[in-house]
């Protein structure tokens, strides 16, 4: 009861006129920043941080959290309408969101993303309100072996359940992981894998370079070539009745993905090293694994949109938890929020809930209000996004190419990366022709920087003994499931042979 009373007080803080206005502005700005390829919540929060010194600290963090929320919703928009994941958190949304748009069902995909995000955010808010201190303690029990086991599980779901050619899937995962190691060795600090001795590789290869190259250039070239230029993305109709029908379809076909993403996303978001990107990718993979219609994923399944969106929104709230309760940021965006709090004279940590209850509960109350506003703004903006898709493809295609290049430059500010985007784009076009699945490579380059250090730290902890992964109570079951999934193709291969031998 005490929590409900505190939450009620927090809601009253959140709906004060100034805070309400900041939430509306923050959510709307965040939505458009998130929708722009190359820009994500981290850019929006970082750029607008100085603006917040004009308002009280409580209102300032409410504004920044609203931008964060809006950007999480917005990331799905470019994934669905343009086929370019605007931020790493929206990579998984592209897998089914883009095929739905290509089938003339962009409205359904956008509604599924909005509903998934809303439910994910709401579930996360409830979990945050009720279990914040407890979950913070559980999250701390995740060390390097447990985090590595989780990463392995994410890769295993792609190997074990991918309908694609397994050898090509494994190649794609390994390739993405190798690309993630280019630059400097995180442990020794020595330069590593400077391909063709080009100094441009010293800065590493950003996930955005590969993702924009694959989806913004390669996939677009492949679409233009394979459809002989006759692309039908213009069938999406706009009506209130249609949106209501799409909400019904999302509820029917996307509820499992939404539920999975909401709960899994929150827990992955709480882990200090993880964040919204692994959360969305794992939500997608687990939803696909649990679905009876696995073969429909990747071809335009509503659950394939709702799951990652619920996952990334839930995780974005979850990542606030270690920041507020322990002072440990769960994502780059929360790291900036943490910096802002320190500048405003607040000390994140266990004492924050006791010393600054108005601030903390006002912020938690604003999560609920921001979530509702983000849904409303998103649904209201769907006609605008659908209008974009009604453009002739010979106008939309150059817009996508331009946004790929401009967005790629905006993120890295380096022409070398733009040339790299083109190289990956043309490479992806040819690999796509030969049915190499490229999504696992994008997944791998995102998760690689988490997987490698945790593997090395684990082996260092155990003096090189790999049994460390199988002797700890949390990592052991995760590792066993991951290994079983990796071996699943071999079981499938052997089963018909045994059957035929028995016959």
């Amino acid at each position: 009861m005490e929590i409900l009373s505190l939450l009620g007080d927090g809601m009253l803080v959140a709906i004060q006129p100034l805070n309400l206005m900041l939430i509306l502005i923050g959510v709307t700005l965040g939505l458009f920043i998130g929708a722009m390829p190359g820009l994500g919540s981290v850019n929006g929060v970082a750029i607008l941080l100085p603006v917040t010194f004009l308002v009280p600290p409580g209102s300032a963090i409410i504004f920044l959290a609203a931008i964060y929320y809006g950007a999480m919703y917005g990331g799905a928009i470019s994934s669905i309408t343009l086929g370019i994941p605007g931020a790493s958190t929206a990579v998984a949304t592209t897998f089914d969101g883009r095929p739905l748009a290509m089938m003339g069902k962009a409205r359904l995909a956008l509604v599924a993303a909005a509903i998934g995000s809303f439910v994910g955010g709401t579930v996360a808010n409830v979990l945050f309100t009720g279990f914040a201190p407890l979950l913070a303690t559980v999250a701390l029990s995740f060390g390097p072996p447990e985090i590595f086991a989780l990463m392995l599980l994410a890769f295993a779901t792609f190997v074990g359940l991918g309908g694609d050619d397994i050898a090509k899937t494994v190649f794609s995962i390994c390739f993405g992981l190798v690309l993630a190691t280019v630059g400097f060795d995180q442990v020794s600090g020595a330069p590593r894998l400077l391909l063709f001795d080009l100094s441009g590789f010293l800065g590493g290869i950003s996930f955005l370079v590969l993702a924009i190259g694959v989806y913004g250039i390669g996939e677009m070239l492949w679409t233009l070539e394979s459809t002989r230029g006759k692309i039908t993305t213009t069938d999406a109709k706009m009506s209130v009745k249609g949106i209501v029908e799409d909400m019904g379809e999302t509820a029917r076909k996307g509820w499992k993905g939404t539920a999975t993403g909401s709960f899994l996303g929150f827990f992955v978001g709480v882990l200090p090293a993880a964040g919204a990107t692994p959360a969305s990718l794992m939500s997608y993979a687990i939803t696909k694994m649990l679905s009876k219609n696995k073969h429909e994923f990747g071809k335009g399944h509503v659950g394939g949109v709702a799951a990652p969106e619920a996952g990334n929104n839930s995780a974005s709230t979850g990542s606030m938890l270690p920041m507020l309760t322990l002072g440990i940021p769960g994502s780059p965006t929360t790291a900036i929020l943490l910096g802002g709090m320190v500048i405003w004279g607040l000390t994140p940590g266990p004492r924050l809930f006791v010393d600054e209850p108005d601030f903390v509960w006002g912020l938690i109350g604003s999560f609920y209000v921001s979530n509702i506003f983000a849904l409303l703004v998103n649904i209201c903006a769907i006609p605008l996004f659908i209008w974009m898709l009604r453009m002739p493809f010979t106008v939309l295609a150059p817009l996508i190419f331009v946004l790929s290049v401009v967005g790629g430059y905006a993120a890295m500010q380096d022409m070398f990366d733009i040339w790299l985007i083109l190289a990956f784009g043309f490479g992806a076009f040819f690999l796509r022709k030969f049915d190499y699945p490229l999504a696992p490579a994008v997944l791998a380059i995102v998760l690689g920087p988490i997987a490698e250090p945790t593997l090395r730290q684990s082996l260092l902890l155990s003096s090189g003994d790999p049994s460390i992964f199988f002797t700890r109570p949390i990592s052991m079951p995760i590792m066993v499931i991951a290994i079983l999934l990796i071996l699943m193709p071999a079981f499938k291969y052997l089963r018909p042979r045994r059957t035929s031998a028995a016959e």
Binding site: A167, R192, L221, F434, L459
Partner: protein
């Protein structure tokens, strides 16, 4: 496609070997007290890539994948034309950035694609060519405060006017 499939696998196998060679420069073993060496992770992943290409080649011999059975060309005349016109246009666009600035290159690429490839009317082309780069300029330079390349010095007068508006 059948020839293309095995040639692609061969090229990827060579890439894997190259990556293994590069990774080995950082050491691929285990050092007591400091854990796996820097090349350990990328070396064994590259080895995984090489093994995968071996299986792809095996599947090619067994004609398992659709590509390994297909006699169609990798690129027919339409595909080649698309790749040259669209892909070439994108390369030209990026090459122009250092000369005419990011926004200038955007305008030229939009003109090329919408008017020449799309064959749309001037009524659609001109607003797109002028307004879209301007919109990008005010969004990135004004709102997001991200500077894009301004090209060679002959573009300065245009940018002086635009920067006067936003600053």
């Amino acid at each position: 496609m059948r020839v293309g499939e095995i040639v692609t696998a061969g090229v990827l196998a060579l890439l894997s070997i190259y990556l293994m060679y590069k990774a080995s420069a950082n050491g691929i073993g285990y050092t007591r007290g400091s854990g796996p060496q820097g090349g350990f992770w990328p070396f064994w992943l590259s080895a995984g890539m090489l093994i995968s290409t071996g299986f792809i080649a095996l599947n090619w011999v067994r004609q398992v994948s659709p590509q390994s059975r297909s006699q169609e060309p990798v690129l027919d005349s339409f595909g080649l034309k698309t790749l040259l016109l669209v892909g070439g246009g994108i390369i030209g666009f990026v090459a122009l950035i250092d000369i005419v600035s990011m926004y200038g290159a955007v305008a030229i690429f939009m003109l090329y694609y919408i008017k020449l490839l799309g064959q749309h009317s001037w009524r659609l082309t001109v607003p797109m060519v002028l307004l879209f780069p301007l919109g990008l300029f005010f969004f990135f330079e004004g709102l997001m405060q991200i500077s894009m390349p301004t090209g060679m010095s002959f573009t300065d007068p245009v940018y002086n006017v635009l920067y006067d508006i936003i600053y």
